[in-house]
């Protein structure tokens, strides 16, 4: 019983760490403008819309976070082998990973922006100075909990994978969860804030991103301020739920029904999430209604 209680405690802590990591990950990627929405930042100057938004085209968020978390995990492991205190090792290793992240961010901004010279997009040095440090800070808040969670899973729950391998697994999953949940909110709701609410961005509007703020010109920092209110927490909940339920079903039900307990629990969870999804889908159809009358739709169908 005591070991189960201990396992549940670790599971809750890991879930909490994952929530922090997910929320910070999405906010970081929106401040830096990474992933799919960045295609619009890239496209805008070609359409004649010069902007002062960061252009952190490192790669999609999953491989990028796979790299930051794996660096942190691998370096921390090497430090621990040489006898360093685990907490200290995790902090220093995360700092090194964030140094790498910062360098990749600046080279991406400089490289992409310099290649847009034909469209008269200048390089704004103050953007690099002010935004890079903020993305690095957020990335640290994302990477350190993520790698701590990996360490916790090994040290307290006896997962067989070494730390670096868990880093690659959860780093890519962190990026996948954060980009899937957070990208539409940054891409549609923030970049195209001037477009109608409650509808997708018409393809004809592509590239016409919002470049001016309430006062002055929009900075990428404003994007983090905006998305931290919904997309960030939503990404955090997404990744936190994934980690929590993944551990919870194993810790609690692994020994039930000759090993099938954890699997049955997983199937039940998937079905519950599926029902919730269907419920909100129908809720949206009822409450928001169709964009045009159904009769016109039947003709085209």
């Amino acid at each position: 019983m005591e070991s189960v209680l201990f396992g549940i405690g670790v599971t809750a802590l890991a879930g909490a760490l994952a929530t922090i990591a997910g929320a910070a990950e999405d906010t970081e990627s929106n401040i830096g403008s990474q992933g799919d929405p960045n295609s619009q930042v890239q496209l805008a100057p070609q359409m004649g819309y010069i902007h002062r938004i960061y252009n952190k085209a490192v790669s999609g968020e999953p491989p990028a976070y796979g790299l930051w978390v794996t660096i942190s995990a691998g370096v921390a492991w090497a430090f621990m082998v040489t006898g360093m205190n685990p907490v200290l090792a995790l902090v220093i290793a995360s700092a090194l990973a964030i140094f790498v992240q910062g360098v990749y961010a600046t080279t991406a901004y400089l490289g992409r922006t310099a290649s847009l010279a034909k469209f008269e997009q200048p390089v704004y040095i103050d953007v690099i100075k002010s935004v890079t440090t903020v993305t690095m800070a957020h990335a640290f808040v994302a990477v350190f909990p993520a790698v701590s969670m990996c360490y916790l899973i090994i040290a307290a729950l006896n997962h067989p994978f070494p730390l670096a391998l868990l880093g690659i697994v959860w780093g890519i999953a962190l990026g996948a969860a954060g980009s899937a949940t957070g990208n539409p909110f940054y891409g549609k709701e923030r970049q195209y804030q001037s477009q109608k609410f409650g509808a997708g961005v018409p393809i004809s509007a592509s590239g016409n991103i919002v470049r001016y703020a309430e006062a002055g010109q929009r900075s990428s920092l404003d994007n983090g301020w905006f998305t931290a209110k919904l997309a960030g927490p939503a990404s955090g909940i997404c990744f936190g739920l994934i980690v929590f339920f993944e551990l919870w079903r194993t810790v609690l039900f692994e020994s039930a029904a000759a090993g099938w307990g954890a699997i049955i629990a997983g199937v039940v969870l998937i079905l519950i999430f599926m029902i919730i999804d269907r419920y909100i889908e129908v809720w949206a159809r009822k409450n928001y209604g169709p964009y045009k009358s159904e009769s016109a739709e039947e003709v085209s169908a």
């Binding site: 980009s179 997708g200 961005v201 993944e246 969870l269 999430f273 964009y291």
Partner: protein
């Protein structure tokens, strides 16, 4: 993933000559394993091939819209298909590896654990995508490729906002995502589990050490190979669908036989090399 979108269509239908050559390659790989490796290696190679084609098949179910999805211009999840599938598959690998570490659990439980791990990640991620679309952006889900959702029968056309190809995840895409996660998780775990069994059996004599001592090496090798082969298969499958797909109802889904043949062949060659490490 980045600012790049498909320019080559990829074409439909399978290439019969290439497919036959591919199947011959698979048979050659199995034959080599049969002649130079102990019998346990042949079953491991077959497991790896099956795992690879499960991954390739699973990627076709995952609804990924790429860059346009981030603007609500096309349905699906707004990220890269290979990496989203990798996220799900590796989360499955995490669960499967955990179950595999328990000696009491047999083959079925390990693979099922991996499958559920991947499916659970996709179930939660797809739900959060719809929550952000519906409650964050006020946009209902609508498919651009079919008039009616094949599962629920909901009409789609009227719920597409003007000037877009649809947005969000209709229920068929949601189910597709979960199935993709299940298949990816099962495939990745199958590769890992087969290689782990092989390495645990053969490494002690190679390194002249006790079985318990080499467990970390076996786990690491099997783990990094599983991740490597997962990425190879996921990227090949992503090439097959040229980056974006809505789910099992998308016309591009019909291209899956090519990916199955291709991923099985790639896995056969990669798997043969992975087996040779403990045989040479």
């Amino acid at each position: 993933m980045t600012a790049i979108e498909a320019s080559s269509s990829g074409g439909e239908g399978i290439n019969p000559v290439a497919s036959v050559i591919a199947i011959v390659l698979i048979l050659i790989a199995i034959a080599i394993a049969y002649f130079i490796a102990p019998p346990v290696a042949v079953s491991a190679l077959i497991g790896v091939i099956v795992g690879g084609l499960l991954i390739g098949f699973g990627v076709h179910f995952v609804p990924v819209g790429g860059a346009p999805a981030a603007m609500g211009q096309s349905p699906g999840i707004a990220t890269g298909v290979a990496m989203l599938a990798a996220g799900a598959g590796l989360a499955g690998l995490f669960g499967g590896a955990w179950a595999a570490a328990n000696p009491e659990f047999g083959f079925a439980i390990v693979i099922a654990s991996g499958a559920i791990g991947g499916g659970l990640l996709m179930a939660i991620t797809c739900l959060m995508v719809n929550i952000v679309y519906i409650f964050g952006m006020g946009i209902p889900a609508a498919s651009g490729k079919v008039a009616k959702d094949p599962i629920t029968g909901d009409t789609q056309e009227a719920y597409k906002s003007q000037g877009t190809e649809g947005h969000g995840l209709p229920f068929i895409s949601y189910v597709g995502g979960v199935i993709g996660g299940l298949l990816g998780g099962a495939g990745g775990t199958l590769i890992y589990y087969e290689l782990l069994k092989l390495y645990s059996e053969l490494l002690p004599s190679i390194l002249s050490a006790e079985a318990a001592q080499v467990v970390p090496i076996a786990v690491s090798l099997a783990g990094i190979f599983a991740i490597g082969m997962f990425l190879v298969n996921a990227v090949l499958a992503a090439y097959n669908i040229t980056g974006t797909i809505e789910g099992p109802h998308d016309p591009k889904f019909k291209r899956f036989p090519r990916a199955i043949i291709g991923c099985a062949t790639a896995s056969a060659v990669c798997g043969l090399f992975a087996i040779l490490i403990v045989v040479v």
